[in-house]
């Protein structure tokens, strides 16, 4: 058993600060266990959101020693016994109290994503798709909406003024999942450029680094969507070919 000093943020929008708690940790414990121990023994009013304790509900997102991660998936044996560990709420979102933040920004953004629009069925009236058609997008469906990627994305985190114009990595993989869907026939490239603001992403891959589901957000979601956007808006050869063939741009979202 080792004893740690946990510096936990206590407060709300009107003010607050980090408060020290000395907590014992047994083998196999995670950060969330210690937060629960603080609630049970020292601060019953400590606000903390959690649910499954198995890394699948995405509720206990926090910043442990400044790194966005799930408290239930952060094992205590990663830290030196006796060390001091800071636990802060997600700093990108408005605080409600202590470790609980208001993540509704992400749900509001999700409402703006153009939904799936089915292409016409096959000649026999049935829809068919094969495993190779959906392998690519199944990865995106692993998202547990912990919003760690949104929290760490510097466009949202450090530039409040961009929040309106930028959807963020969670929404980009949602858009990618729809756009790459074999049964979908909606063109989201204009949406991704103008409404979701994918050009603001400078692909520094922090979203991928913090994803607890190890989704390749940047390589498999954002960059492919940037390339699809480039097809439509930044490729002079495609533009010339379209002019030559008398085709119109497909800029409907």
């Amino acid at each position: 058993m080792a004893t740690f000093t946990l510096q936990v943020f206590r407060g709300d929008a009107t003010g607050g600060g980090f408060k020290d708690y000395r907590v014992d940790a047994e083998d196999g414990m995670v950060v969330l266990d210690l937060v629960h121990r603080i609630q049970a023994t020292q601060a019953p009013d400590l606000a903390c959101r959690w649910n499954c304790k198995a890394g699948k509900c995405g509720s206990c997102s926090a910043e442990v020693n400044g790194k966005p991660q799930l408290m239930c998936m952060t094992r205590m044996n990663l830290f030196e016994p006796g060390s001091t560990i800071s636990i802060a709420p997600l700093r990108t979102f408005p605080i409600i109290r202590d470790l609980v933040t208001d993540v509704s920004y992400n749900y509001e953004k999700a409402k703006s994503v153009p939904p799936l629009r089915l292409r016409p069925p096959d000649a026999d009236g049935k829809y068919r798709m094969w495993q190779e058609d959906i392998d690519r997008i199944q990865e995106f469906h692993n998202c547990i909406e912990c919003f760690l990627c949104q929290d760490v994305c510097h466009v949202i985190r450090d530039h409040d003024e961009k929040k309106k114009a930028f959807a963020g990595p969670r929404l980009f993989i949602k858009i990618a999942g729809l756009d790459m869907h074999p049964l979908d026939n909606r063109d989201r490239r204009a949406f991704v450029k103008d409404s979701a603001g994918i050009g603001l992403c400078n692909i520094t891959k922090c979203c991928t680094e913090v994803c607890p589901e190890h989704i390749h957000i940047t390589d498999n979601g954002i960059i492919p969507m940037k390339e699809r956007m480039a097809d439509e808006f930044f490729d002079p050869v495609v533009w010339l070919l379209r002019k030559f063939r008398g085709q119109k741009a497909t800029r409907t979202a």
């Binding site: 929008a13 790194k67 800071s86 605080i95 058609d133 510097h154 985190r157 869907h181 050009g199 603001l200």
Partner: protein, 277 residues
């Protein structure tokens, strides 16, 4: 206490205020080590390659041609790749422009607009952000939505150019088996330089064909892979390579610099090229 606590980050109290934590970051690890390493490595390569390109000498020692000077297309080249040379470009003060500058823009543009290198230099040089969950150094930010960074969207064209260079470098590597014979003419041989040039071209090809734009062009733009089986196979192959794109980016960078250095040292007579046969 970890940092000074304010009412909120702008000094105001609001209903939808963020957590009132003033510190730019709360990280306790050596997050700065990676950006510093990237600055040192990329900086060293830029300094060396610029110096090597300015030399206009010691880039060819039969049968080896430095990748910094390939394809050699200037009339004064020591080794004319295409058998004919373009007229020399003369600049004021500088004089004859080194043939390296006629071609280095190609691979340079490819690396400059590469998705991996963008991550590397946006973090290390731009500090936007220097590391994850570390506050951006500058307040204003427009990403890649305005000039000049909006040009990054044309990365695929830099890739097309890079593929042409791979063809030339492969040709150079083939010629690296063709040693001058004592009585005139040529004969087949293998030297350390031959191996160096082949390692270089293989790593450069791995970097070029693991590119994200290559992945898109090969099949990433397709929605229904079952209707495009060849593209699907190609896309899967490139996707597997793409997983190692950052590794190839660094290895190929070292390889191209070291290949030039090796040929330069042999050409200057400072080291001797060992011949296997």
């Amino acid at each position: 206490m970890i940092g000074r606590v304010l009412k909120d980050q702008s000094g105001r109290v609001g209903v939808a205020a963020r957590p009132p934590i003033a510190a730019a970051h709360l990280r306790q690890d050596t997050w700065w080590a990676l950006p510093v390493t990237v600055v040192v490595m990329l900086g060293a390569f830029i300094v060396y390659s610029t110096w090597a390109a300015l030399q206009n000498a010691h880039y060819f020692v039969p049968p080896y041609l430095s990748p910094f000077y390939s394809p050699c297309i200037s009339a004064t080249c020591l080794h004319l790749t295409l058998g004919w040379g373009l007229p020399d470009v003369r600049l004021p003060i500088i004089g004859i422009l080194s043939p390296a500058f006629l071609i280095l823009w190609g691979p340079g543009l490819f690396r400059l607009t590469c998705y991996y290198y963008r991550k590397a230099y946006y973090r290390s040089f731009w500090l936007a952000p220097a590391a994850c969950a570390v506050r951006d150094a500058k307040a204003g930010y427009t990403g890649e939505t305005r000039s000049p960074l909006i040009v990054q969207n044309l990365h695929r064209y830099a890739w097309y150019v890079a593929v042409i260079f791979i063809v030339f470098l492969t040709w150079d590597a083939l010629l690296a088996f063709r040693f001058p014979a004592p009585g005139g003419g040529h004969r087949f041989g293998l030297g350390i330089g031959t191996l160096v040039m082949w390692i270089n071209v293989v790593l450069l090809a791995a970097y070029t064909f693991s590119c994200h734009s290559c992945r898109h062009v090969c099949g990433g733009h397709v929605d229904s892979f079952s209707r495009a089986p060849v593209r699907y196979k190609l896309w899967r192959l490139v996707s597997r390579l793409n997983e190692h794109h950052p590794l190839f980016a660094w290895l190929s960078l070292f390889a191209v610099g070291l290949t030039d250095l090796y040929i330069r040292l042999v050409s200057m007579g400072l080291i001797r090229d060992l011949r296997m046969f």
